[in-house]
Symmetry: C2
Subunit: 144 residues, 2 copies
DNA sequence: CCCGGAATTGCAAATAGTTTGCATCTGCAT
DNA sequence: ATGCAGATGCAAACTATTTGCAATTCCGGG
């Protein structure tokens, strides 16, 4: 049984062609994808699938903790990425929207600190860094 | 001229009743608001305004750097808050969606580090911490 | 103070993203 | 192999947001 099938089974989800393909797509891409990107990729791979199924699958998997769903500053749609134990953050270019992953996360101690200070049970965080990539910066896109 | 009128003028925006009211609302609330929340608040205050105007105003003001627009994990709509020089982050309850502000931000050095490492021109970041508030935690909403 | 042009607003209609109802199909335990 | 709970496809509904256009308002110059 493949690693992906194991993930599904352990979450109590049926292992279907579409689910395996979607998880595989999220695993291979190193960047977060919108539902439609996943759908397009499925089509490219000739996996029969409907956009509703993609949405439903992504939601179900989020609920089961296999993937994470989030929104980006000023973007009108949701992005999804595989849940990773060693989590990463992204550097998002305000000019061209390109995202690149950043290694390392400086927030573990901070979370503990907050937890102690607030009585909340912290489960995680989302951090995105915004800026201009070298190309957009030199193209003057950051002049306001 | 009020502080708010100055903000508008300095950004090159006309000072209209709706804009002043919207800025005032965002300034008074200590939490981020969705467009509709702003609209409802305007109605409450008997400020004549249309939902499109609210959206347009919020967008224009984001572009001019007066406010910030962002998305929350798993929420289908955008939130807006006044831009603050001393910025804050929020602790968001996964159970009841309540947000509370957290004082202090541990990321300034981290940004410099990233800037040095990547050649990007960093302009800021968005950090939200997710967890369960004491009420939701004891109500067992975090058991999966 | 009044006027004109440009910016802003209201309204209604369009769009984008996402969700849902229901009939059909499929994976998996027996 | 068989049955049924869970998954999918399709079309229609919904929610959040955007847009075109005509009417209105702001603001600088006369």
């Amino acid at each position: 049984m493949s690693e992906i099938e194991t993930m599904l089974k352990e979450s109590g989800l049926k292992s279907t062609k579409q689910r395996r393909a979607i998880l595989e797509i999220l695993r291979k891409k190193e960047l977060p994808l919108a539902a439609e990107d996943v759908y397009i990729e499925l089509k490219k791979q000739n996996v029969p699938a409907n956009l509703s199924t993609v949405y439903r699958t992504l939601d179900t998997m989020s609920e089961h903790g296999l993937i994470q769903k989030f929104g980006l500053m000023g973007e009108g749609r949701a992005y999804y990425e595989l849940f990773r134990v060693v989590h990463r953050h992204f550097l998002v270019c305000i000019g061209c929207k390109k995202m690149i992953p950043i290694q390392g996360c400086p927030l573990h101690e901070y979370e503990l600190e907050i937890e102690a200070k607030t009585d909340y049970k912290i489960s995680g965080h989302r951090l995105d860094i915004y800026g201009y990539c070298p190309e957009c910066a030199s193209a003057g896109k950051n002049i306001e």
